[in-house]
Amino acid sequence: MGPLGFLAARSLLRNPVRTALVLLGLSVTGALLLDMTMLSRGLEASLGGVLGRLGFAVRVVPRGTLPFSSSAEIPDGERLAAEIAARPEVAAAVPVVAANLYVRRGGARFPSFALGVPGGGTGAYAVLEGRDLPAAAAGAGPAPGSPPADPPIVINRNMARLDGVRVGDVVVLSAAPEPFVVRYAAPRAFRVVGIADFYFDLATQRSVALATVDLRRLQGLPRGAASLILVRVTAPARTGDLARWIQARDPRVDALSIQGFLDRAAAQLTYFRQFSLILGTISIAVSFLLITAIVTLSLGERLGEIAMLRAVGFTRARIASLVLLEGLVLGAASLPGAFALGLLISRNLDAILRSAPSVPENVHFFTLTTAAALRTVALVLGTGTLGAVYPATIAARLGVAATLHAEVLS
């Protein structure tokens, strides 16, 4: 460490109580800055994490939409999925149908999100208990001569918990809230074969997964369309080429890579960025003023020392650098407190926000990523340095002889 770094670091010891109070203040503003940095892209980062874990590199959706964001469907989605699956760089292409169903239980009807999949093993959800849907028997009826069996479904944890449903139980689903809506087929019983995590469930949402053929039969609709096609690739480097091929093949769809998905989602979440930008800016402004005030105050108390350093041989530039470093050191010293406090606050704020309706369980608003941490560190250090610019200017312009003379007279 050079003399300036040494002196700047030791300057923290000059007035320990005052330094502690300033660091406390800077920790609070730094914590707010960290939280706002985490919030600005937290939802994207969290969403990206979940998407990455699912392992689907490309999502094919009706043009201009996000998965399950509307009732729009790809008219011949199953055929398009088959064409995509035939490509060499594709490991699997899973056409998925999303629908709203109603769980009939004890005379009441509860809305449920339904995922129609070709069969088990798609990776669209993770089975936690029991087993998955049959892979090959999707929609297949009972063997000739066998008693008719209830088709299998997989339910989510919320449904298991809220309705007391266990593996092996039978649940009755209908496509319409009331029986007199004749367009739809009659309610039908399903056998629960597994309980799963559906990744994007809301906190109290009921979800079920069933064979597409069973879902369409329940809806009274023909097969063929899909809400979404999930594509797993064997060559991630060729994801871009694949996405372009899909869009060229069917202009009615968008083929979104994970980043494309996140970019589109981010465009719909700008209010989080605006919110964090405003509060983050306020936090930086308060830190800046705090550092400017304290370093200027400290400088005023030791003009004689600064004059001595100049007399001893420190140049104006070195003195200015010393004062700037003091601001930097103050910022740096506040970082541990800022991170500890920021993480504590963000945990509580995240819990509050996630308790709101329409928020998926696996998604977080405040996500500490390496980029968020580095951005916070850079902003805190930059603010510390900039906060010391004004006192550094004063120190650099100090008249040595006049100051020494004034110090003696005082």
């Binding site: 002196l7 030791r10 004689g304 020392e305 041989g313 104006r316 002889a401």
Partner: protein, 241 residues
């Protein structure tokens, strides 16, 4: 530039009784301060040479320009007119940064109010100019300890200024002034805030330093300190009386 070279250059300064020994000189120096209340003529045509290995005391009533002259000789201020030459170089011809480098390598300052950094130990205070001059840590540590030993404070090397007496602080300040082996040591009222015994100790120390070859200039009201100087300059109203 080492001390020998500096002194050799100083030979060209001229105008002094022993040019080969001149470290700093003032030639017809005028210093005027323009204040809100009017113009103050602090120095009115001072001519003076400071020689290597001598202790020069400057005495005179308050406000007569003693400290101003000291600051000009040390290159922390520039004359309004006339020439101040420091180690052969007219200070007015040097940039601020070049003057700072010259002070760092060749001039030591001792102040009435010590100006030790309170968050550093005595040893660290002494080592400070060496750090700035880029002396390697083992060397500056060794030299700082040697200097503290020379001023009789080896046992206080790890104490902070707040734990030292006034006399001890001034001795640390003198050790700091000697850190980079200066050719010129300037002391402005070094005994001004000390009791008689401590003041005498400082006077004795400055005398020793000059005996070792350093040019020492002391501005003082202390008659004992002034009396032991090799040469005494008495000032009045910005002139040498």
């Amino acid at each position: 530039m080492d001390d020998a070279q500096a002194v050799a250059q100083a030979q060209h300064a001229g105008g002094a009784p022993a040019p080969d020994r001149v470290v700093a000189s003032a030639d017809a120096v005028v210093k005027v301060y323009r204040m809100p209340g009017g113009t103050v003529h602090a120095l009115r045509g001072i001519t003076l040479a400071v020689e290597r290995g001598t202790l020069l005391s400057i005495v005179g009533p308050s406000g007569c320009g003693k400290s101003t002259l000291l600051h000009l000789l040390g290159g922390v201020d520039l004359p309004t007119a006339g020439t101040v030459t420091l180690l052969g170089q007219p200070t007015a011809s040097l940039s601020d940064a070049a003057l700072a480098r010259l002070r760092l390598r060749h001039v030591g300052f001792v102040f009435q109010r010590f100006f030790l950094l309170p968050m550093l130990t005595a040893e660290e205070n002494v080592a400070l100019p060496m750090m700035e001059a880029g002396v390697a840590q083992p060397d500056r540590r060794r030299r700082a300890r040697a200097l503290l030993e020379r001023v009789g404070l080896a046992h206080r090397s790890q104490h902070r200024p707040g734990q030292l007496s006034g006399g001890e602080m001034q001795r640390v300040a003198i050790a700091r002034a000697l850190a980079n082996r200066p050719a010129l040591l300037l002391a402005d009222e070094p005994t001004g805030e000390l009791d008689a015994a401590a003041g005498w100790e400082i006077a004795r120390l400055l005398r020793e330093i000059s005996r070792d070859g350093c040019a020492v200039v002391v501005v003082t009201h202390n008659t004992e300190l002034a009396a032991i100087a090799d040469r005494q300059v008495r000032m009045r109203d910005g002139t040498i009386a």
